[in-house]
């Protein structure tokens, strides 16, 4: 996802990008990301939230972890899940580019609107 002209690097980045977006393509996984953005959840407390087995939730968490979207850390006997904001920021970059493009467009829109000729 980095802007680089080195093809090797681009390819590696593409692979990471695929993993990232595959991980985010699932509704449950997106929900886990949202919940774990502000609070830490244990896998078992997440499993209570969804109508699926502990193993299924554990699997979703594993996909998120492989994509770098969450990290797990230990708190006593619990394993807590936390959203990795840095990785979510990567997804934000495409949206930031859209924003920048639209800010430019809206500037031009504002100029054109004053002058109907």
């Amino acid at each position: 996802m980095t802007l680089t002209y080195n093809h090797m690097v681009v390819r590696l980045d593409d692979e990471q990008t695929d993993r990232l977006f595959h991980a985010m393509a699932d509704r449950t996984r997106r929900d886990i990301l949202r919940r774990s953005m502000h609070d830490d959840f244990s896998v078992s407390s997440l499993a209570d939230v969804y109508p699926m087995s502990f193993a299924a939730v554990q699997k979703h968490v594993a996909v998120l972890e492989a994509a770098g979207l969450v990290t797990k850390h230990r708190d006593g006997r619990k394993r807590l899940v936390r959203t990795n904001r840095e990785t979510v920021q990567k997804a934000l970059r495409a949206l930031e580019d859209l924003e920048a493009m639209w800010r430019d467009r809206i500037d031009r829109f504002a100029s054109a609107i004053e002058d109907p000729t």
Partner: protein
């Protein structure tokens, strides 16, 4: 400041930008409805857009190309999903090939425009852009959508590198 609000949701894959103008909704709509006026703001001065087809009816197609400083041509298209003049327009937005035909394998985004009167007689315009799927967004990013945008659209401001706590989630 014309732009009054921007929200980006990296999990829902949407970007929404709100701007306020001191003119009527009817006047603001003309900038979408009249291809000659649309051309004046859609592309940057270095990549002016030319609209060759412009049919703002449900199912209608809008086609345009942008011409770069080297004479390079970048084409795009919209397919109109819904339109309610002068208040709303929703289109699917995609890339075109060298012959300006839609490229079927390329991901598309959706764009929703809403124009609302203010009590003072001005217009609030909201643009919401949505990636149809995380895969599509991944594909666009991976193919260098950013780079393409920078090259094609030039003059992009420094991008806000927001505080992560300012992320719009939900």
């Amino acid at each position: 400041m014309t732009v009054t609000n921007v929200t980006k949701d990296p999990i829902a894959l949407t970007m929404s930008i709100t701007a306020e103008f001191d003119v009527s909704v009817e006047r603001a709509w003309e900038l979408w409805n009249d291809p000659r006026q649309l051309e004046r703001w859609w592309g940057p001065p270095t990549y002016p857009a030319t609209f060759v087809e412009h049919e703002l009816t449900v199912g209608g197609v809008v086609r345009y190309y942008m011409t770069g400083p080297e004479g390079d041509r970048h084409s795009g298209w919209w397919r109109v999903v819904s339109v309610e003049a002068p208040h709303s327009l929703e289109v699917i937005d995609g890339f075109g090939d060298d012959a300006d035909a839609p490229m079927p394998d390329m991901p598309t985004t959706s764009m929703q425009v809403t124009l609302t009167e203010t009590t003072a007689g001005g217009t609030i315009m909201v643009i919401e852009s949505r990636f149809p799927s995380t895969e599509a967004m991944g594909q666009l990013v991976a193919m260098g959508m950013e780079e393409g945008m920078r090259l094609a659209l030039g003059q992009i401001d420094d991008i806000l590198r927001g505080d992560p706590t300012a992320l719009t989630i939900g």
